[in-house]
Amino acid sequence: SAVISQKPSRDICQRGTSLTIQCQVDSQVTMMFWYRQQPGQSLTLIATANQGSEATYESGFVIDKFPISRPNLTFSTLTVSNMSPEDSSIYLCSAGTGGEPQHFGDGTRLSIL
């Protein structure tokens, strides 16, 4: 199974700034996904990162707020832009192919002051 590495593991940011989270997979994968997990809650899909095309965003999430890059089959980034305290959460990256399980990184714990 794929091994997913995320950086940074945690950060504390000021209101109004932006943070880019990196996700590296140890093998080539078709699909990469970005999730948000509020403390004590389940996972909400932000977007699917497609190599060579625009990311596909879920309802309630927009590209201007969460721009995503997918330059190759092993790497993706998620930027959280113009952050506010409501963006404080855990952001998780996963990778998988249709019908197969997704494998997750350990997440980025983000706090906004």
Binding site: G98, P101, Q102, D106
Partner: protein
């Protein structure tokens, strides 16, 4: 709309006390049902995939089963190290996305 619910929300067991966690789903054509374990401060760890009603998978003290409307995760003689949040997710039709349930927080007391 695809939906997943899990019960109970939280469960406390004594070591050795067997029990079951439930995952109920509504999906337009099930492609796969996935069980994960999540420890505090970690990402979800994959446990099982089930594809069709009647299918069962086992791993150590865990056994997952699937019907047309729900899945059960049976925990036999649990140990404290089984304490975690257990998440269920479904993938529908020919889609790529997972829909996750809210999870069950399991605590196993020594």
């Amino acid at each position: 709309e695809d939906q997943v619910t899990q019960s109970p929300e939280a469960l406390r067991l004594q070591e050795g006390e067997s029990s079951s966690l439930n995952c109920s789903y509504t999906v337009s054509g099930l492609r796969g049902l996935f069980w994960y374990r999540q420890d505090p401060g970690k990402g979800p760890e994959f446990l099982f995939t089930l594809y069709s009603a009647g299918e069962e998978k086992e791993k150590e003290r865990l056994k997952a089963t699937l019907t047309k409307k729900e899945s059960f995760l049976h925990i036999t003689a649990p140990k404290p190290e089984d304490s975690a949040t257990y998440l269920c997710a479904v993938q529908a039709g020919d889609g790529q996305n997972f829909v996750f349930g809210p999870g069950t927080r399991l605590s196993v007391l020594p």
